[in-house]
């Protein structure tokens, strides 16, 4: 039994059907990558898992319990956290306040101060920035804040949506290093990326999404070796 | 469906033209008020529905039209329709500089800024000694409801025709583009300031023309009667209820509203306001985008299936 299993998920925004049948699973402690073109439904899939988008059909099981249709609050409470696409920080709040909102759910609220200490210990670069408004940070710094904020709720599964978006290659590598460290600390990671080569280096297994559907799954190596994937996502012929 | 619309419209117009011959004073009165509010809603729909600038102050132009007409009729003894026309032109002339300033605001700021602007216009107009300030202004009685009705009907039909034209014209496309995203529209070559001010001017001309008729209809005007925020809000609600930025929204919304309102106050004078407000809230929750888009979506779905 996987820690998180998503089966045949469907979702729509008004008339626009974004997901037609997305399935993936993640085991405790592993990194899984979900790749696909923009508009393939990756972000919608993550938002549906978090309850931010209400799924139309399908099943989401976390730790043996159905969570589809539940509110985001309950889902975070159970141990899932999202690093959203574009980071979605609270731009006019300080770094520290951003982190504290990450510890909003009841399970960790009482330990917010302790969690804050742990996050600063993991990301010492945030320490001197704690009083800065999040909106004034560089892209890379913002991404670290977003990750730190998600870690505040002590998740068992971390969903990451395009953490490399808008970052210079050097910063991207650093962020991926952070992802690896988090994973080593025992947190399972679902990594949605366009930076396919690096994502597949990091992940144990991967899924390919096309037009709102899971069309392929396998080990990262197998996916990386797939000719179709190579052609479409890695620009190799 | 579309074919039936033209003869239907012609029939409706003929019926409206003949109405004063057949109807009693009350029915004409009700018809006048209905046509007046629908015309006001059409005026508002241009700047707020098509251009997306939500105004809470178009009534200022109605008041300006009414006062200008009254002053011209009383002091210069013009035929009232000529005076009302002058009132409309004055409203338009006032709208252009005002629009130039106010249309720099957006969203709720424009909405409330226009509310403040309307209050200012009211205070300043009634500060002119000739208007008699709070004691009001009497007009010579006698032109009667029929003339006022025809004047208002003509403006209402004109406003509908104008809206039909806007909806199909390049100007209308430009307005809708700037409503959706003003900066993008500008970088696609839309002269946004000019388009907005034109829309604002038209949205002022219509109430400006209507105000004169209203002054004649009342024969006595005072600030609260013609700078009536209630009349303003009523026409806004009609347009929203019918469907913002649609050709037929103000008409449908206006018909529904006046019927509901008329049916309610006759039956429940004491709790009329409460029922009206409650109904509005319920309608809004049930049909958030207005009646016309809801019907259109329904029709499209049915014909698509």
């Amino acid at each position: 039994m996987s820690l998180l299993t998503v089966t045949a998920l469907e979702a729509a925004y008004g008339d626009f059907r974004a997901l037609h049948g997305v399935s993936f699973a993640v085991e405790a402690g592993e990194i899984v990558s979900v790749i696909g073109a923009n508009g393939a439904g990756k972000t919608t899939a993550l938002k549906s898992v978090m309850g931010i988008v209400r799924p139309g059909a399908g099943e989401i099981v976390f730790d043996g319990e159905r969570i589809d249709g539940r509110a985001p609050r309950e889902i975070v409470e159970r141990g899932l956290a999202l690093v959203p696409e574009g980071r979605n920080l609270f731009r006019e709040m300080t770094v520290e306040e951003n982190l504290l909102v990450g510890a909003h759910v009841r399970r960790v609220r009482g330990r917010a101060a302790a969690r804050l200490g742990e996050v600063y210990a993991r990301f010492p670069m945030l320490q001197p920035l704690r009083r800065r408004a999040a909106g004034t940070l560089s892209g890379g710094q913002q991404q670290v804040v977003a990750i730190g904020r998600a870690l505040m709720s002590e998740p068992r599964v971390l969903l990451m949506d395009e953490p490399s978006l808008g970052l210079a290659p050097k910063t991207t590598l650093e962020i991926f290093g952070v992802v690896r460290e988090i994973n080593r600390a025992g947190v399972a990671v679902v990594l949605v990326e366009q930076n396919v080569v690096q994502a597949l280096e990091l992940a144990a297994r991967a899924y390919v999404l096309t037009e709102g559907r899971t069309v392929m799954e396998g080990t990262a190596a197998a996916i990386r070796g797939n000719a179709d994937v190579k052609r479409r996502f890695m620009g190799e012929v | 469906m579309k074919r039936a619309a033209v003869p239907l419209a012609v029939l409706a117009i003929i019926a409206l033209l003949l109405a004063p011959l057949r109807l009693n004073g009350y029915a004409i009165n009700l018809l006048y008020v209905t046509v007046l509010s629908i015309a006001l809603a059409y005026g508002w729909n241009i700047i707020s529905g098509y251009a997306g600038y939500f105004s809470f102050g178009q009534i200022a132009f109605f008041g300006v039209g009414a006062y200008a007409t009254a002053l011209i009729v009383v002091n210069l003894h013009w035929y009232w329709m000529a005076a009302a026309l002058a009132g409309g032109v004055l409203a338009l002339a006032l709208a252009i500089p005002l629009g130039y300033v106010m249309l720099r605001l957006r969203g709720p700021f424009f909405a409330m800024g226009m509310f403040g602007m309307a209050q200012m216009v009211r205070v300043l107009v009634t500060a002119v000694p000739a208007t008699g300030s709070g004691s009001g202004l009497f007009l010579p009685p006698g032109s009667g409801i029929t003339e006022v009705y025809y004047w208002t009907l003509a403006i209402c039909l004109g406003a509908i025709a104008l809206t039909v034209w806007i909806d199909r014209s390049a100007f209308g496309l430009r307005l809708q583009a700037l409503r959706e995203d003003e900066q993008v529209a500008a970088t696609l070559g839309v002269e946004t300031t000019r388009a907005k001010i034109t829309a604002f001017g038209l949205s002022a001309l219509i109430p400006g023309l209507l105000g004169g008729g209203y002054a004649l209809f009342l024969t006595y005007i005072e600030p609260d009667a013609v700078f009536s925020s209630r009349l303003d809000l009523q026409s806004i609600v009609m347009a929203i209820l019918g469907g913002l930025g649609t050709v037929w929204g103000p008409l449908i919304g206006g018909l529904v509203m006046t019927q509901i309102s008329e049916a309610l106050w006759a039956r429940f004078p004491q709790i009329y306001l409460m029922i009206f407000g409650g109904l509005l809230v319920v309608l809004l929750i049930a049909l958030p985008r207005g009646i016309v888009p809801a019907l259109a979506a329904r029709f499209a779905r049915r014909s698509g299936a």
Binding site: M50, I52, A71, P72, R73, V76, A81, L82, P84, R87, N88, L89, F90, R91, M93, E97, N98, L100, V101, G102, H104, A112, R149, A150, S153 | F54, V101, M102, L105, P108, F109, A111, G113, F115, G116, M117, Q119, M120, V123, T126, A127, R179, E180, S229, I236, V237, I240, I271, L273, M274, F276, G277, G278, L279, L280, V281, L284, I285, P288, R289
Partner: protein, 288 residues
């Protein structure tokens, strides 16, 4: 001496305006909803307090907890049942929340008229003034001023240094981000609307010492509130107090030197000038 008195009058009037605007600012700041029914809550509370006093001789300050609880409950209910259901699309959300609160305003006015009738009422309480030399300081206005400052600072403090406050700000700054953190945004907004309404009704109770009101006067408070909030800066709770003081002083001096009827235009002029030249409010940050 007259100038000093006018200044004091203006400052105290500013306190009254600040108090009556605070609830509106909370709702606008957190939810970006222009609550056209704001003034109706103020007025209903005032009329209720005045009737309580006239009928049963209850000290309106004793009614305060009751009106706060009632306002809180009413606000929570209205948000939960109505506002929450509005569509989320940005373009139409603005229009529909305006229309909805407009309908609500009519409903409340109608309900107030049905319950209390159209008579103007007021509570003869704290009607005197403290005298400092030649200058007088009206007691009820002073109280309103103090309460306005305390409540504004209190709310600013709540926002700044409590978990709920952070959740409220997070929700207003980035909805998706707040959702991702497990903030129950529905609850936060319901709370914000409820707090806004409770503050409005609390203010209304104090307004009953100052003004003669009936159920239909709500629109005056709504308009004042918008002016105060725009001048002071949206969602800026201390800025709103300053905006209110500026408005109060303007009104006081303008109606002395310009004549009261013409002076009615002064606050509107100020309000439009601020909108045009300092869109973030006089103390607000410039909008990016």
């Amino acid at each position: 001496m007259i100038l000093l008195q006018l200044a004091i009058n203006g400052v105290l009037l500013g306190g009254v305006l600040a108090l009556s605007a605070l609830g509106f600012n909370i709702v606008f700041g957190v939810m970006r909803v222009v609550n056209l029914a704001h003034g109706d809550f103020v007025v209903l509370a005032a009329v209720f307090a005045a009737f309580g006093f006239a009928q049963f001789g209850v000290n309106p300050l004793l009614l305060l907890p009751l009106t706060i609880v009632a306002g809180f409950a009413a606000g929570a209910l209205i948000h939960h049942v109505l506002l929450r259901r509005l569509p989320g699309e940005v373009a139409s959300a603005e229009a529909s929340s305006l229309t909805l609160t407009f309908g609500l305003s009519y409903f409340l006015t109608g309900a107030g008229l049905a319950a209390f009738g159209g008579r103007f009422v007021s509570v003869p309480y704290l009607t005197g003034a403290f005298r400092v030399g030649e200058v007088s300081v009206p007691q009820a206005r002073l109280l309103a001023f103090v309460v306005a400052v305390v409540l504004s600072l209190g709310f600013a403090l709540l926002l700044r240094s409590t978990a709920l406050g952070r959740a409220i700000r997070a929700t207003s700054q980035n909805l998706d981000g707040a959702l991702a953190c497990g903030v129950d945004v529905d609850r936060v907004r319901t709370l914000a609307f409820a707090i806004g309404t409770a503050v409005a009704t609390a203010a209304g109770t104090l307004m009953s010492f100052l003004y003669n009101l009936n159920a239909q006067q709500g629109v005056l408070f709504t308009v004042n509130a918008f002016a105060v909030v725009v001048i002071g800066g949206l969602g800026n709770y201390t800025g709103a107090v300053i905006g209110a003081l500026i408005l109060g002083l303007t009104e006081s001096f303008a109606s002395y030197f310009m004549g009261a009827t013409l002076a009615e235009a002064a606050p509107y002029l100020l309000f439009i000038l601020v909108l045009l030249f300092a869109p973030g409010g006089l103390r607000g940050r410039r909008a990016a």
